[in-house]
């Protein structure tokens, strides 16, 4: 069996604001195994990026981890600060951001940016690091890597830049990669390429991936398992095939129904009534109950249960038992 690379248990992130305490992450738990891609999906503001930020320790104050544990390869990392956390970043945890244009320092060549990252974490000589930098570029599929190693970010197209970003995230060989909306800023035609690249690299190296996105299509394409988030809470967790074909949570079902499918012809798109609540105004009981067509008294009073794998955070899941 593969090892568990990342384990998040009952994680809560709080932000004190003037109107009250906002919980962008509220009692979330999931694991990611080596070589596995976990998709974290949800609407904007659902808290998916916050969980990622919490793992890598880049929460912007006053946001902070209020409760729960984060374990990386068995070790607790949620309490780490400063230098200890810095050593993990890049070396054990890599991150890919959304916008490749702004992720790269325009004044440094990509060779420089790669080399410095490697030199920071790996015991290499400069010339070795430079050779590895070229190899890294080749791995992510940039043609003519040896010549372009000294080029600047603005000399690359959007898709190429994101490949460079991925190369940077992976060059120190982390065991976990957090990809925060890696394809959202890219052309549709390029998105598929980047996803394929990410998949291949992580399978080859056995890297665990947290793939954060709002795009169900990306999840379907890339992820092994999926975590559905709603209003900061975990709504459903399970294998991609299961969740997508047989969603247990009414919200997930709604999401699936509203995803445009080529095969659906001219049928009108389904919409879920209402909108996701603001994080400082999360309803009592189950966060989804105001919009849920199946809501009952219990849903309005008691918050949905915390879940483990292959379950939905719902008192009345759509399928009572998992069909094996």
């Amino acid at each position: 069996m593969s090892d568990t690379v990342l384990s998040i248990r009952d994680l809560s992130v709080e932000i004190p604001t003037r109107t009250g305490i906002v919980k962008p992450v509220d009692g979330v738990s999931y694991d990611i195994q080596a070589g596995e891609i976990l998709g974290v999906v949800g609407e904007s503001g659902a808290g998916k990026s916050m969980a990622g930020n919490a793992v890598i320790g880049l929460l912007n104050p006053p946001a902070h981890i209020a409760a729960g544990e984060i374990l990386l390869n068995g070790n607790r990392i949620d309490g780490l600060r400063g230098e200890a956390m810095r050593r993990l970043r890049g070396k054990d945890i890599g991150m890919v951001f959304q916008d490749p244009l702004t992720s790269l320092n325009p004044l440094l060549s990509i060779g420089d940016q790669l080399t410095e990252t490697m030199l920071t974490h790996l015991p290499l000589s400069r010339s070795d690091a430079e050779k590895r930098a070229v190899a890294a570029l080749e791995e992510v599929g940039i043609p003519g890597a040896a010549e372009r190693i000294d080029s600047y970010p603005h000399e690359f197209s959007g898709g190429m830049r994101q490949r460079v970003v991925i190369a940077l995230a992976l060059c120190a060989e982390p065991s976990l990669v957090i990809a925060d909306e890696p394809t959202t800023a890219l052309d549709v035609s390029v998105q598929a390429q980047i996803i394929a690249l990410l998949k291949r690299l992580c399978r080859e190296r056995g890297t665990a991936v947290m793939l954060i996105t709002h795009d169900m299509g990306v999840i379907a394409e890339a992820a092994d398992r999926v975590a559905v988030m709603y209003a900061g809470r975990l709504a459903e967790l399970g294998a991609v095939r299961d969740v997508l074909t047989q969603p247990l949570h009414p919200y997930t079902a709604g999401l699936m129904a509203s995803t445009p499918l080529a095969s659906a012809g001219k049928a009108r798109l389904h919409q879920i009534e209402g909108a996701m609540p603001r994080l400082d105004k999360v309803p009592e009981g189950c966060a989804f109950h105001p919009r849920c067509t199946y809501a009952q008294a219990k849903c309005r009073a008691v918050p949905a249960p915390h879940i483990s794998d292959a379950h939905a955070a719902c008192w009345f899941p759509l399928v009572a038992e998992k069909v094996s």
């Binding site: 880049l58 890049g90 320092n105 004044l107 410095e116 080029s151 000399e155 197209s157 995230a169």
Partner: protein, 326 residues
Amino acid sequence: MLAYIIRRVAQSALVLIIVGLVAFSMFRFVGDPIENMLGQERTVEDIERLREQLGLDQGFAVQYFRFLEGAVQGNFGVSYRQGRPVAEILIERAPATLELAAVSAILAVIFGIALGVFTAIRRNGFTANFIMSASLIGVSLPTFLIGILLIYVFSVELNWLPSFGRGETVQIGGWTTGLLTESGLKALILPAITLGLYQMTLIMRLVRSEMLEVLRQDYIRFARARGLKDRAINFRHALKNTMVPVITVIGLQLGAIIAFAIITETVFQWPGVGLLFINAIQFVDIPVMAAYLMLISVMFVAINLIVDMLYFFIDPRLRVDRAGGH
């Protein structure tokens, strides 16, 4: 890129021509141009010769051209007050101003950038806030007041440093320097601080605000996510990106230092071209005023041009004619 250079040079030339026009007009129409050129000791033959040379009976354009011709050759006429050729006086006094300006500029840039970076990195610390509040006063204080205050504290009360003059100077070739003697160095301290303080404050505030802006950028976040050390992030990444907009301003400020030297030189009776200019205004010594004006313009224009060109070396994005894939 070539087109840009040509345009800038043309602009600069335009500025110089206009300034030359102003200087020429001063020369020609305020007071007597013959007297401006020859001084008060002159013979009738001199006057006639000059009248022809200047083309005073000919068109405006011709006279202007002749004037420029003379200027380029270093002939700025004769000072009313001193009866000596202006060029001679300027050359004599230039080293004093240039040394003062150079030392002030170096102080201003070094401390300005250092403090700017410090207050940006430690933005919420007590020291940083204190420095920022102090800088507000620095911007509100007129330069001459700073000078006087320094004189009061260090010359009158403590008697550590001299309050006027350059101290002993050493002649090296055509240059007189005060840097090689102890009294020369002592005399340089207060004026250099006075002149540099305002610039330093400006640079500091600019560096701070630019750096704070840069530190908010995504690529800094990504650098942190890659686990780069704070020092690498602050100095290799952030500082480099901060300098791009800052360099232009610093360059322009350096030009301004030479002009602001006028004030400092007056406070400390520093024998440079600034003091010369002020005295010239008080005595309506037109030739000196015109000459100073033209020299300053050439200097400003040159500095502006250099600073613009500098951009190309710093920011790779501007080197458009380099091969790039897109």
